[in-house]
Amino acid sequence: MTDVLLPSETATNADRLVSSTRPGRGQLRMAAAVSAVLLLAFVSTVPFAGIPLPGTEAFLPAYAAAVMVSDLVTAALLVSMFVAGGSLGLLLLSICYLFAGVTAIPWALTFPGVFAPSGLLGAGLQTTAYIAAIRRLAFPLFVIAYALFKDRCVAGGHARSVVWSVALTTAAVIALTSLIIASDNAMPKLMLDERSVTSLWSYVSEAGTLAHILAIIVLWRRFRSTLDLWLLIVLGTMLLEFVMLTYISGGRLSLGWWAGRVYGLAAATLVMLILLLETSVLHSRLIRSVSIEKRARDARLLTMEALSASIAHEVNQPISSMVTNANACIRWLDRESPELERARSTLGRIVADGHRVGAIIEGIRAMFREERGPRESVDINRLIQDAVRDLGLEARLNGVDISLTLDPALPRVNANVIQLRQVIDNLVANAIEAMDGKGECVVRISTAGHPDEVTVLVEDTGIGIPEDVDRLFDPFVTTKMGGLGMGLMICRSIVEAHGGQLSVHNNVPKGAVFRFSLPTYHLSDSRDGESVR
């Protein structure tokens, strides 16, 4: 969409995700308030935790459904963040919520006395307890994994990763449930009867408590974002729930047991709401920035039109008088007695007008040249990495992978950083936009150093280029909807102003390869001398 990307406009939207922004003062205050309320609720239920509440099995399906919906929605929101940001941690966290949401189903179905006296699915006495134990242990472990891998990026298609994750998680839940049901009698007993636990459960409790504390510590040490803040609160709440269930409550379906459930649900719902809120805010911000971008592009288009009209007028005047004078000259010479003196003076005027056109064009060039900044020693690999980082979101949203093969021994070049960055941004953005979503969508960027020049290749597997390759670099030639047709022209003129070359050819089996080279020696042509301060 964008033909000319200026570095200042390329701030990525990934920077504004809830998974990467630091929590503001308001969010911290809200988190503190929520923690206080939850803690207060916990303390106030402690004296009554032991009261048994028989017959409350009826509420269990509703509770399970609420947990499942809340967890699945959270998982979906996390997936959307993963797609935008590509962090492995986020993928793991969304798997965590997905796992929690899906396991809520067998947990409720096998709960004794809810759907059937001993639970559905042919469950035994131990089934529900084992599922609960796995759910509880899995959550902190996944959070630890999230904390450890949140800076790691997933290579390859994000959509594919998500599909695989969902499929594997569901399969794992089904397999685990079947295994637990099948080996109900063979496993060590967690439940004495339908209400009370054996002494073995205390090991599960201790392991779970430990895991939660560990998760809190790890996350605290790597604390960075708003998402981390709310995860900490959830972990804290679940720790309380654990304590309540194991040490205070009077077994299943007691008041303490239910209170623990409600904390857990409240915390899970909170995270979901925060994510929803942040996602909608981000969405509205994106819409705004897209419309701002569009306005800016329209304004650029208008300026360009006005500029080209005035240049056309300036150049057209002398050309018009040259044509008219040349015609007059022919007529002077064609007369019966040719008027040589008039013809000569007419030719003199044509010469003068030719010089006038030259001066006008030189003036225009000088006007643009003033905006050429100073040159410095530039590391092209670094420039490419920056560009790819900034264009990463656009690539991911388009389902495009970017692979880099950078020559570690690439010599530095003497160039204008901003202009060179513009060239790279433009070529990479074009490559991303060229993808038609069919087959492999990869942009390969590679650099290579030679004795006297460096070359950069930007290969895509998109729609390729039309036959009249050379016209691609002419102004106002575009293959994109709403394109200005200035991008490649500007790229070529920048590369040539640096003494290099920019060319294009078709890729095999499909797509295009843009190649530009820059000399590594110091440029000392006269134009350069003028622009260096």
């Binding site: 056309a312 007028h313 057209n316 005047q317 018009s320 007059a328």
Partner: protein, 206 residues
């Protein structure tokens, strides 16, 4: 095109374009005079010969189209050939509607300009001839007496001598004498000729 006493005026603020046009018209022996602005053109003393105006659309101060309207308002009926650096369709339609001869985009084919200028001069020549004839007829009309003018009105309205005599309460002979006098003074070859002249006088004197 030869020097036939006609004159082409050029109004263009770009001296090189103006000079080249003058040069081109000179090379076909067309008398020509250039002006840098409409004001300069209006202030100059212009010869009273068949002429045509070559006008740049883009002028300092006011546009060529505005200047055309101003000329028409102040009773200067010059055929106009517009030239422009970047003409668009609406602009050329507006110019042609206002009565321009031609609308040429720079750089134009020289034959197009010469043809347009020729056409303009020819139009002006015809308009001037027309004006001269009308003036002649009016001069002759003024030599008629009040009675003769009266009878001319009746006769050209299609009434025969007898009816005119009855209307004016004079003898038919008297009417005949007046009529012969009118034909002579107006230099009319026939009655239809006289009717045509009367029509033109009626068009000029409402």
């Amino acid at each position: 095109m030869t020097s036939d006493g006609s004159m082409v005026f050029i109004v263009d603020d770009d001296p090189s374009v103006r000079d080249s046009l003058q040069n081109l018209l000179c090379s076909v022996d067309q008398a020509v005079e250039g002006f840098a602005s409409p004001t300069e053109f209006l202030e100059a003393e212009r010869p009273d010969v068949p002429s045509c105006l070559v006008l740049d659309v883009r002028l300092p101060g006011q546009s060529g189209l505005e200047f055309h309207r101003q000329l028409t308002r102040s009773g200067i009926h010059l055929p106009i050939v517009f030239i422009t650096g970047h003409g668009d369709v609406p602009m050329s339609v507006a110019a042609m509607k206002a009565g321009a001869i031609e609308f040429l985009t720079k750089p134009f084919r020289e034959q197009d300009l010469l043809d347009a200028v020729q056409k303009g001069v020819e139009l002006d020549r015809r308009r001037r001839a027309e004006l001269a004839t009308l003036k002649d007829i009016l001069d002759r009309y003024e030599t008629l007496t009040q009675r003769e003018k009266e009878i001319l009105t009746f006769v050209t309205a299609g009434r025969i001598n007898k009816q005119v005599a009855a209307d004016l309460d004079v003898s038919e002979i008297t009417v005949k004498t007046h009529r012969a006098q009118i034909m002579r003074k107006m230099k009319a070859a026939s009655l239809p000729d006289l009717v045509r002249m009367a029509d033109r006088i009626a068009a000029d004197i409402p």
